[in-house]
Amino acid sequence: MALYILKRIFLFIPTLLGITLITFILMQSLPGDPVTGMAGERANPETLARIRAELGQNRPLPLQYLGYLKLLITGELGRSYYTNRKIADDLVQKFPNTVKLALVAMLFASVMGIGMGVFAAVKRGTNWDRLVTLLSVGGISIPVFWLGLALMLIFAFYLQWLPPSGMGNGDLAHIVLPAATLATFSLSYIARVTRSSMLESLSQPYIAAARAKGLSEAEVVLKHALKNSLIPVVTLIGLDLGSYLNGAVLTETVFGWDGLGRYALDGIMKRDYPVIMGVVLFGAVVFVTMNLLVDISYYFLDPRVRVKEEA
């Protein structure tokens, strides 16, 4: 087991390096010259050269990349152009809000998505099945930010059931609309994958055996078919949770949720490049870490992986 996990972690390292290389290249291709920005347009050439030397900008690019890596390892992501605050500190401060939103959204997406998928599989070929399929195509096609505004219009302004935006003082009502918005995309995928995975399970001989044994339909579906259908669904949930920063940028913008997504948007608006790149890098690291965890979880979830690895 330890060997399997070590192997996964070992494969993880080149990907991490590649990610930092891409953000490094993006930082290098930024418009404008940060040194001129720091020293002012009329600074004399010697001052500029001195600042460049201090920042290590006169070194060859590979050395600069190594310097960048060294800083990243110590958790240094630079400072915001505007607030001069450390970006790492900001990320640490905003991340919990995004995690909270993401977890609530994922809980909602998993329960609803698995429920809809099982329902559609059991009702295969009926209009109910078609309705679920249509809803799930809709859910992956509607732009997140527009869905958020539409939900806000209906539930906050017309019906006045929920607050339109903000985080309140952490009360539950404020998280409902942003979480539902963020959840819709993965809910639809989870429903799709659950449905097809369930259809496959339901056609297996052990289901016929379970029915022949005289189990009730509910027992057959929930105990035998669903349990065996969940592996791809769990994978999807893990991967989606890792990519929630995508949707969070848009959802948090719409609902004024004070997390990483809105932090990124503020960076974009002000062209605060270190902030933008900080979020991009952080998001990618979160994403690949989730991938790694999903990979490792296979070992525990799927006996076939275990057998193959140990053989």
């Binding site: 418009p31 732009p143 505004l149 920063l245 933008i276 790149m277």
Partner: protein
């Protein structure tokens, strides 16, 4: 595989048929639409600010009195062209590197696969934000960002298909006749992979249109005053309660377009290769 696909298949599948008709209409709207709408998309009319939908303005007007219908129609050009061109470009790049990785194998394959995986290791919107943020915003930067986000997925797919095709007997036969690698790739592997790739491409157009809309919404896409569906929503979202039509119609346009592409893509996939998952 393509021989089996006919108009009759489409007629038997109501959602796919509706989607195809909607997309055909959309192409029509994007090409001749702007000439049919009696208002220009950028014409400010201070006497008719924030008018709700009516007989003179079907979709209402925005906070500068501009006709929403004219702007939605004009925005269709950007959405469609960015979606389709980015899909085509990223498919071409993906085909190039995927063929090389799959066909030559060995160290080249290992290296390229690692590169594909690095690009796939970014959440797509975040990478698109990072790329378009370092360029001056506009049509080109949005297209480029979406292409750079999309190519690696195609490359991985092409690599997989190439791996299986290169074991086919006709490839072996061609090789034993002394054909060059380039010839085998171009004359044998590519044509056989193409139907699957076109389906994969069509499945991604919807996602690319969504990505363009999101970039526009964040202010990283085509810049005002040129209307795009995403930027119309972001500029008018302050009026969501007082003048919701300003936001509803561009959003409906995105949703209907992307749903149509996704339904049609699913249909093509089921027809051509039920096992393929992109």
């Amino acid at each position: 595989m393509t021989d089996n696909l006919s108009i009759r298949d489409l007629a038997g599948n109501t959602p796919a048929l509706i989607a195809a008709v909607l997309l055909a209409l959309l192409v029509l709207v994007a090409t001749i639409g702007p000439r049919l709408v009696p208002y220009g998309p950028d014409v400010v009319d201070l006497d008719n600010l924030k008018q709700p939908p009516s007989k003179t303005h079907f979709f209402g007007t925005d906070s500068k009195g501009r006709d929403i219908l004219a702007r939605v129609v004009s925005g269709s050009r950007i959405s469609l062209s960015v979606g389709i061109i980015a899909a085509a470009l990223s498919l071409c790049i993906g085909i190039f590197f995927g063929l090389i990785a799959g066909y030559f194998g060995g160290k080249i394959d290992t290296l390229l696969l690692q590169v594909f995986d690095i690009f796939l290791a970014f959440p797509s919107l975040l990478l698109a934000i990072g790329i378009s943020a370092v360029m001056s915003p506009g049509l080109t930067s949005a297209m480029l960002a979406i292409t750079l986000v999309g190519w690696a997925g195609f490359a991985r797919l092409v690599r997989g298909i190439t791996l299986s095709l290169k074991e086919q007997t006709y490839v072996e036969a061609s090789r034993s006749l002394g054909a060059s690698s380039a010839r085998i790739l171009y004359r044998h592997i590519l044509p056989n992979a193409l139907p699957l790739l076109l389906v994969a491409g069509s499945l991604r157009v919807g996602g690319f249109i969504l990505l363009e809309a999101a970039l526009s919404f964040l202010g990283l896409g085509v810049q005002p005053p040129t209307p795009t569906w995403g930027s119309m929503i972001s500029q008018n979202r302050a009026y969501i309660n007082s003048a919701p039509w300003m936001v509803i119609f561009p959003g409906l346009a995105i949703s209907i377009t992307v749903i149509s592409f996704n339904i049609l893509g699913d249909f093509l996939r089921d027809k051509l290769d039920p096992r393929m998952q992109v």
